[in-house]
Amino acid sequence: MKGYKIIVLAKQVPDTRNVGKDAMKADGTVNRAALPAIFNPEDLNALEQALRIKDKFPGTTITILTMGPGRAAEIIREGMFRGADDGILLTDRAFAGSDTLATSYALGQTLKKHGNYDIIIAGRQAIDGDTAQVGPQVAEKLGLPQVTYVEEVLAISKGFVTMKRRLERGVEVVKCPIPLVITVNSSAPDCRARNAKLIMKYKHAKTISEMQEANDDYLHLYNDRPYLNIKEWTVNDIDAVADELGLTGSPTKVKKVENVVLQSKGAKVITSSDEDMDQLMRELIENHTIG
């Protein structure tokens, strides 16, 4: 058994679950700097499913593919500390402003270029957009079947993957031929912790840009230990049509953004009178807390 070639699609996201008082700027825009950048939670659930396949089928390799700015290499290292083998950072100004479709196009072209995959696994959705679109759209770009909302990969045998899906109102067990795209739910098991040995092994893993900024002391390592080289691809490394990328390649445009008021203004004491209750519900609807 030579194992499977798995690609995990992951995204570095601002931690929107942990929005503090300074998360919004005075002008109503999001202060990204005030939010910690994290490994998108459901992408970690996806990584765990990939790691379980690797546990069961020796010889399996896991490559993390992420699109984002240079610092997104952090999540590739994070994945390596937990058991991924390598990663590709797709980074270029040309991708800026991509909606889900332009993102899927860029990821699709990257996967076509890279080839060499049996199973592509992604989190169901990213917490900064919650759209759940990129997984199915990548599947369409590659002409592969998709299985979404997966909670557990039950078996892989004779070229087929059997999976349990968790839907809003039930569960399904489906069997799909390889290659395929899987998206994983947060109801799937959490990702295992970092492994101390892997941290030692991969702590100096870097992209070429990171190497150029780094201390010379370690530069000799990268020739001796090729596994420390995180691939960094730009638009020139994939066969992409410029019109399909970034803002130009995005059919959806943001027309307007409104801030949702988060600041606690000190407790308002109100009574249970009809007037107060009516006023309260109006306020909550107007500031988009409910409704």
């Binding site: 929107t16 919650d130 759209q137 059919p251 959806t252 949702v260 807390t289």
Partner: protein, 339 residues
């Protein structure tokens, strides 16, 4: 004028609730745009399904009926919708933001290179001026949705690509029959012309619908109750309010220990830590263990008979009074202000 299309989700031969809500919305959009409302139903044994669909004001119903089309799997439904949209060229296409719609929508939008906005909370027709291109677009679909964990509300448009696609969650739009006698026409699709054999590679081995797991961690709104709620029966009020607001019910340890609700709903140090947009604490005194699990909620409403309850110190709104009186009023005035 190109039509507004609604993809009708079929569950056990019935039109899904969310689809009926979207037909209602689709009708009002079509009326405003002076175009037809069309619907597509894909499944098996759909005879008579038009009786459930035409009353919402549907002018044309496209039906794809085949044994292999139920239960839903992605690829054949995708092929049918994509081909039909290529032929009919709708200006707007709506789907439920359900397990089905959120699986199908992105695939269809990718195949058609049309934009899709997920989980819209409001859909409005409006114009747009592109100053850079010096171009004015009329009658676009404004797709309004929360983003960034609910911290911003974005208005999205698709100026150039068609159809303008959007998904909407169940319960967001209101369901309303236009005319029980409304007569549309039926277009039966030849399924073999709309699908390929390769669309049927995913095999359904097992399927059972059951009650989904409680997910208070992911809920944007939590209505939580404590010992002060007083009884299991009074907790029903919390469930009602949560349902109306589209939230979940949580509880303090005291309420769980008293047997009012299941442990899976417990918020706090020994339960789940939550950070919803809105946390409504009903009859919860607010011990530190409970506060640790919810104090990062964006807004907190505390309802308590005790004006000195510790929970009040972290609340944005303090209502001193009886839960059994206040919750029905919240439901009443929420409904009054949203419809």
């Amino acid at each position: 004028m190109n039509s507004v299309f609604v993809y009708c989700e079929i569950e056990d031969g019935q039109v899904a609730e969310v689809s009926m809500e979207l037909l209602t919305k689709g009708r009002s959009l079509a009326t405003e745009l002076k175009c037809k409302l069309e619907a597509i139903a894909i499944g098996y044994k759909l005879d008579g399904i038009e009786k459930d669909i035409f009353p919402y004001g549907v002018d044309v119903l496209h039906i794809a009926d085949d044994k292999r089309l139920a239960p839903y799997t992605t690829l054949p439904h995708n092929s049918i919708v994509v081909k039909l949209f290529q032929e009919e060229k709708p200006q707007i296409a709506l789907m439920g933001a359900s397990s089905v719609g959120r699986d199908l929508g992105p695939r269809v939008s990718s195949a058609l290179h049309s934009g899709l906005t997920a989980d819209c909370t409001s859909l409005v027709i409006g114009d747009h001026e592109d100053k850079k291109a010096d171009k004015i677009y009329t009658d676009l679909l404004y797709q309004i949705r929360p983003a960034f964990g609910g911290n911003i509300i974005a208005t999205i448009i698709n100026p150039d690509c068609r159809p303008q696609m959007a998904t909407v969650r169940e319960g967001v739009m209101k369901k309303e029959i236009l005319d029980p006698k409304y007569k549309g026409s039926i277009n039966k699709l030849d399924v073999s012309k709309y699908t390929n054999d390769t669309d049927f590679v995913v095999e359904m081995i097992e399927r059972h619908m059951e009650k989904s797991k409680v997910n208070i961690k992911g809920a944007g709104i939590i209505v939580a109750g404590g010992y002060g709620v007083g009884s299991k029966e009074n907790f029903n009020l919390l469930f009602e309010l949560a349902e109306v607001l589209g939230g979940e019910v949580g509880a303090s340890r005291a309420a769980v220990d008293s047997g009012y609700v299941d442990h899976e709903r417990q918020v706090g140090q020994t339960g789940t830590t939550v950070r919803p947009k809105l946390y409504i604490a009903c009859g919860i005194s607010g011990q530190i263990q409970h506060r640790a699990g919810m104090e990062e909620s964006a807004q907190i409403i505390a309802i308590n008979t005790d004006p000195e309850a510790p929970i009040n110190s972290i609340a944005d709104y303090v209502i001193t009074g009886d839960v059994a009186v206040i919750l029905p009023k919240m439901i009443k005035f929420y409904k009054a202000n949203t419809k």
